[in-house]
């Protein structure tokens, strides 16, 4: 069943291709290769960017499994209740998938982007088009997988991320991190990319290329984001500026020229709710934890390289504690009745601030939440993010 997989073996296509008088490029990831000693001679190169997938030299060859894939089977959908606004977007997505065109869905945080895809995917499978749902982050992929496994109980769903058991397989619906797509070439007719503005997808041309190459020529591409970049807004856009529960987004309060006592006051103001504090850097986590400990407040910290990351977030969901986090928790996390503060908010980007503000008030029971930006300096990102949230609330 390992179809559409790229494997290294001797064959007609060289692993790295040479552009005339310019440079070498890695065929697998599109990165610039490095010269290295090799038995083949003094001019051999290898790609360090995708070394984790196995070393690929210019004297090696990269091959694609050319066997055609079986057409996907239509799947039964358990429909979810959608609001009229969601209904409108959903039918636009369905239409784009049916006609094989491109679409950018610009929906605010907590608008319920995932359930809007269901009907589009059902249509796609009915038309015999294989579906790929990709996201740059593993947590988001797991969350998407949970949703689609519930929505399509008898579909062939494969979930791909580093260390998953389905790796290198192709399902009728494939849910994958963008990094896994280096293994696929022209496999999918419908490509849905969630969170296109998330790190590292936004800055990494190799991941964008991987998504492009995983799609068949003429495949329809649906991009989802709450904070799309300028360049992405050139695509046909549909906008949804209401949350699924109909309440407006919490507008962040800006606290300029803050002192530590202000942060402490924020923490003490919400004694019976989970409080999430964002800091700009991993090294700042300890500094803030120590500062809080000095005034008798215990806080947990979480960052990307933390081995106990998933457990800590899971514990925080049900507790009423304080969690200090870096931007890894800026998206894809839903915590009931969470109160959010951003320390040193002048060092965050606009999209990060919008996403962070979107953590608050996501559930119907607690549609509002306190969001405070503590900043020393005024930046365009601060004002831009607050403006964008207010504009979305106006509709």
């Amino acid at each position: 069943m390992l179809r559409g997989r790229l494997v290294r073996h001797t064959g007609p296509h060289p692993g790295l291709i040479r552009f005339k008088a310019v440079t070498w490029r890695c065929r697998r990831c599109g990165g610039l290769p490095t010269p290295a000693p090799c038995t083949c001679g003094p001019f051999c190169r290898y790609c360090r960017h995708c070394l984790a997938l196995g070393v690929l030299r210019s004297c090696d060859t990269l091959a694609t499994d050319p066997r055609p894939l079986d057409p996907p089977k239509p799947a039964r959908l358990i429909p979810k209740e959608l609001t009229p606004a969601q209904e409108r977007i959903s039918s636009r997505i369905e239409q784009a998938i049916a006609t094989g065109s491109r679409l950018l869905v610009h929906a605010v945080c907590g608008a319920g982007k995932t359930p809007m895809l269901d009907r589009g995917i059902e249509t796609s499978l009915r038309l015999g088009k294989r579906v790929l749902v990709a996201a740059p982050r593993t947590d988001v992929v797991r969350e998407l997988a949970r949703h689609f496994e519930a929505a399509f109980p008898d579909a062939d769903i494969k979930v791909l991320y580093g260390g998953s058991s389905d790796r290198l397989q192709v399902g009728d619906i494939t849910i994958s991190t963008t990094h896994q797509l280096f293994h696929y070439y022209r496999c999918f007719d419908t490509v849905i990319v969630d969170e296109i503005d998330a790190f590292p997808y936004r800055f990494d041309y190799r991941l964008r290329r991987a998504v492009r190459r995983a799609a068949k020529p003429g495949a329809s591409r649906i991009l989802l984001s709450a904070t799309p970049a300028r360049l992405d807004r050139l695509l046909p856009v549909v906008t949804l500026s209401r949350r699924y529960h109909g309440f407006p987004l919490p507008v962040p309060r800006l606290h300029l020229g803050y002192r530590f006592d202000d942060v402490k006051a924020f923490i003490l103001d919400h004694p019976d709710a989970p409080r999430l504090l964002f800091v700009p850097r991993v090294s700042q986590l300890d500094v803030w934890q120590r500062k809080l400990a000095e005034v008798g407040i215990t806080a947990e910290t979480v960052h990307a390289a933390d081995p106990a990351r998933a457990e800590k977030v899971e514990r925080f969901r049900t507790s009423r504690g304080i969690l200090l986090a870096t931007t890894i928790l800026e998206r894809g996390v839903t915590i009931k009745n969470v109160q959010v503060a951003v320390c040193e908010a002048d060092r965050f980007t606009e999209s990060a601030l919008i996403q962070i503000a979107g953590r608050a008030g996501r559930s119907t029971d607690h549609p509002d939440g306190d969001v405070v930006f503590f900043a020393d300096d005024r930046t365009n990102a601060l004002y831009g993010s607050i403006d964008a949230i207010k504009r979305a609330n106006r509709g």
Partner: protein, 212 residues
Amino acid sequence: MKCLLCAEHFIPVWTPENLFTSQRTCPDCTMKFVKSGECADCGKPGRTLCADCVRWRLKGEKLVTRTLYLYDAAGKDFMRRFKFLGDPVLIEVFRSDLKQVRMKVDWIVPLPLSAERIADRRYNQSALIAKRIRGRKRNPLSRIDLPASSGLTKAEREGRENPFRLERPCAGKRILLVDDVYTTGTTLHQAASVLRAAGAAEVCALTLFRSV
């Protein structure tokens, strides 16, 4: 500059000592490697002559080996990436250390790989290390294919057949052998005994790591 080991950006700090050396790793990654210890013959930390080296000397096979760093977690991770993942550029991490090695020898001899092994790995890691040391490089040895020594116990290692064969005469030469990791020293001693039997005047050795 981008660190070779962790791919993070860092700003090299210039001081009079490192003005003419290249900094390819960030300060954090550089700090992770621990310099080897006291043993005069192999650099094992602890005593001025470790028990293993005393035994080699009693057998009459003294081989003074200079080891640069200890084979700890950082060293193991380095070797895994450099040798087994196939990232030969990483040798640049130790470029300035190797450049500073000055030994009064005629030949620098990297331990060869067997034909089967080099066809598989495509480069000789010892040759890459030797390349960055000043001096004449020569290859008077060849190696026959035996199962890999990484993963054998100490007794198994010491009882192995000598895989090295002499290809070119080396009589009267002072020779520096170069290898990547010194574990029990058996491989280096086997190569040294072949060279000594062929009439080499003096044999010493250098490795990147000394296992602990």
